[in-house]
């Protein structure tokens, strides 16, 4: 749950207009369904990387489709 909240705070930080949609986010929802543009999407990644003090690799990023994928990436990073 903590991980999903972190993702939600990242989204609010890069695009406050999406705050009203945060309640709809489920692990199987595709990230692109949220309607962030490509720059805002990467800004969100930057926010997460800063909070987690890490960098995700390009190869890992391109394989991420859903919020669940992103959450498990974050959890793996935290455990590492």
């Amino acid at each position: 749950m903590e991980t999903m909240n972190l993702i939600k705070s990242a989204i609010s930080a890069v695009d406050p207009s999406k705050t009203s949609k945060l309640a709809n986010i489920r692990p199987d929802m595709e990230i692109r369904e949220l309607g962030l543009d490509s720059v805002a999407t990467m800004e969100m990644v930057g926010y997460l990387e800063e909070k987690l003090e890490t960098q995700f690799s390009d190869e890992v990023m391109i394989r991420i489709q859903t919020f669940g994928d992103l959450a498990s990436l974050i959890e793996n990073t935290r455990q590492a």
């Binding site: 309607g35 543009d37 720059v39 990467m42 190869e59 391109i62 992103l70």
Partner: protein, 589 residues
């Protein structure tokens, strides 16, 4: 301490290899490559020569010969630059390709990579350890490919010894694939002669670079002409130092751009309009108090429509950091003309002008360079005078020979008279170039080109929308371009049709639709033969004449607004207003 070595750079080199080679022996200036953690690695121009030559010799050791194409997917600036210059040392033709840039688009990205490799008939694919796993899937589909190599593996290959192939000014230097999202990829053939003509024009006429005394900073993608030619090749002709930020690092942490400008006391940088808007939006008070931009001299702006308002706001915001007035330099260019076609004179205030008294104002992109010409052409190919709108055309030594193995596309743009048709609409006033629109209807958002058809197709799949009756275009928004979709619907379309269009475009293309206009059948402007008129639809939208009977919602927010209100809020109103204060003010040079 002895004075550092400085070669003579007062003459134009004949090839990129000559430009690079003559910097051998310069040990105190060169390239600084930041990695994803912003950790710098420095290569002096001397070390860069050595690293590039060794990489070129290793590529030749894999059985490649002069003229063979090498596909390159390298996201780290250090890998990219050394490999690119290594290919040139060895007479090989690099084909820069874009690395994956976002989430979950593996298939679409791999398909794009495949189409470029097939078109270029690449012999080798060069990548890094991270990306090789996702690239192996395309290798069996490209018959010309003999090998996929990582730079890590290449560095273990024994280099060939002896003479390297001779490189001549007329030789193909690299293939620049244009970034259209749907059409078949087209590779612009850029010769060494083109590159030296354009780099010299930029360095001498455009920016008056001071040899061995200036530093450039770039986060621009290196697979694209603005980053590659502007920051890798042009600085070589005058021994300008360069600092490279990985593109993704900038997108994730936009403030690193001005941070690095300040840290390195840099003079030069470049970015599309959206990046300047982002820089203004993201800079914090603490950063503005800390950054020192007093050394900087030229902030180039190109690649997408330039908003005067954004430029002025950038200058005003960073004045606190010592940014001087007149550092913003609007520029106009395209890959088919190598890179640059016109530059606003650095050090003078950016300004805008309208074609007609009551029309919208456009930012001046300055004049073309010596040996180069700009013109305006009508649809029949007649040259028009100043102050008349038409297709912008360009002529001179930077105009490339055309598209790789594509005589039809080449003949359509490269006229026998030497003029290059740019596909852009514009006018010339007092020698200054103004771009008013894209005759190719290209939509440019966040610096990337999108064909309207892909967006229109995505919207047409939404229930209630009349297939084939959708038009997409961009308009100036608050500080950069915004996407608008206009669709005719069936009678009584389902509730939420506008929101569904927004969602469909976001899901399929990761693009944000800022406004959706729904019209009844037959309300979109069409030609007598029934063809949709995108430009006319856009004009009607901007002037508030479009779809008076239509149901109109402001895209994702669902907020209802009248056309007139929205247009009044948009940059059109403000740009024209601001410009009216600037028009007729003499340019400060």
């Amino acid at each position: 301490m002895s004075t550092p070595y400085r070669p003579d750079v007062s003459t134009k080199p004949a090839t990129v290899v000559e430009a690079l080679r003559r910097l051998r022996g310069v040990n105190d200036l060169g390239h600084t490559y930041l990695d994803n953690a912003a950790k710098p690695t420095f290569f002096s121009f001397d070390a860069l020569n050595e690293a590039a030559e060794q990489r070129g010799r290793r590529l030749l050791a894999r059985g490649l010969k002069k003229g063979d194409r090498v596909g390159m997917v390298l996201s780290q600036p250090k890998d990219f630059v050394i490999s690119f210059l290594g290919c040139l040392y060895a007479g090989l033709v690099p084909v820069p390709m874009y690395p994956p840039l976002s989430f979950g688009k593996l298939d679409a990205w791999a398909d794009g990579a495949l189409r470029i490799l097939l078109d270029a008939e690449a012999s080798l694919l060069l990548t890094d350890a991270q990306l090789q796993n996702v690239l192996w899937q395309v290798v069996p589909k490209v018959k010309s490919l003999r090998d996929l190599l990582t730079v890590e593996k290449l560095d273990t290959v024994a280099p060939v010894t002896g003479d390297l192939p001779e490189v001549a000014p007329g030789d193909l230097c690299f293939l620049q694939y244009t970034s259209g999202s749907t059409s078949a990829p087209k590779g612009v053939m850029v010769t060494h002669g083109n590159l030296m003509a354009n780099s010299w024009a930029i360095a001498v006429d455009g920016m008056a670079l001071v040899p061995f005394a200036e530093t450039a900073v770039s986060w621009l993608p290196l697979y694209h002409d603005m980053g590659l030619i502007g920051f890798v090749i042009t600085p070589l002709v005058k021994g300008m130092a360069a600092v490279f930020i990985p593109t993704l690092l900038f997108v994730k942490r936009p403030n690193i751009w001005m941070q690095v400008m300040s840290d390195y006391k840099a003079q030069h940088t470049f970015g599309p309009n959206f990046a300047y808007a982002l820089a203004v939006r993201k800079a914090t008070d603490a950063e503005l108090a800390k950054w020192d931009l007093s050394h900087s001299r030229v902030y180039g702006c190109g690649a997408e429509p330039i908003h005067l308002d954004t430029m002025l706001r950038f200058e005003a915001t960073f004045e606190r950091c010592g940014l001087k007035k007149g550092t913003i330099m609007p520029a106009y260019g395209m890959a088919e003309a190598t890179l640059a076609m016109s530059f606003h004179p650095p050090g003078s205030q950016v300004f805008a002008n309208a074609l007609h008294d009551d029309g919208p104002a456009f930012v001046s992109c300055g004049r073309t360079f010596s040996l180069h010409e700009m013109g305006v052409m009508d649809e029949e190919g007649n040259l028009l005078g100043e102050n008349v709108e038409g297709e912008l055309v360009h002529r001179g030594p930077s105009v490339t020979p055309g598209y790789w193995k594509n005589p039809e596309a080449t003949a359509a743009c490269f006229l026998p008279s030497g003029w290059l048709r740019t596909g852009d609409l514009g006018f010339i006033r007092d020698g200054n170039v103004y771009i008013t629109g894209r005759s190719k209807d290209l939509i440019i958002l966040n610096g990337r080109n999108h064909h309207p058809t892909t967006i229109e197709w995505a919207a047409a799949e939404v229930e209630g929308v009349r297939k084939g009756n959708v038009v997409a275009f961009s308009v100036p928004g608050q500080d950069s371009e915004e996407l608008v979709v206009v669709a005719e619907t069936r009678p009584e379309p389902p509730a939420g049709t506008a929101e569904n269009i927004t969602r469909a475009v976001a899901e399929q293309l990761s693009l944000k639709v800022s406004d959706v206009v729904l019209l009844g059948a037959g309300q979109l402007p069409k030609t007598s033969s029934g063809k949709l008129q995108r430009n006319k639809t856009r004009q009607q939208y901007v002037s508030g004449e479009l779809g008076k009977q239509g149901d109109r919602t402001l895209g994702s927010s669902g907020e209802k607004l009248t056309v007139a209100k929205h247009v009044a809020k948009s940059i059109w109103g403000r740009a024209t207003h601001t410009a009216s204060k600037i028009i007729n003010r003499p340019t400060e040079t």
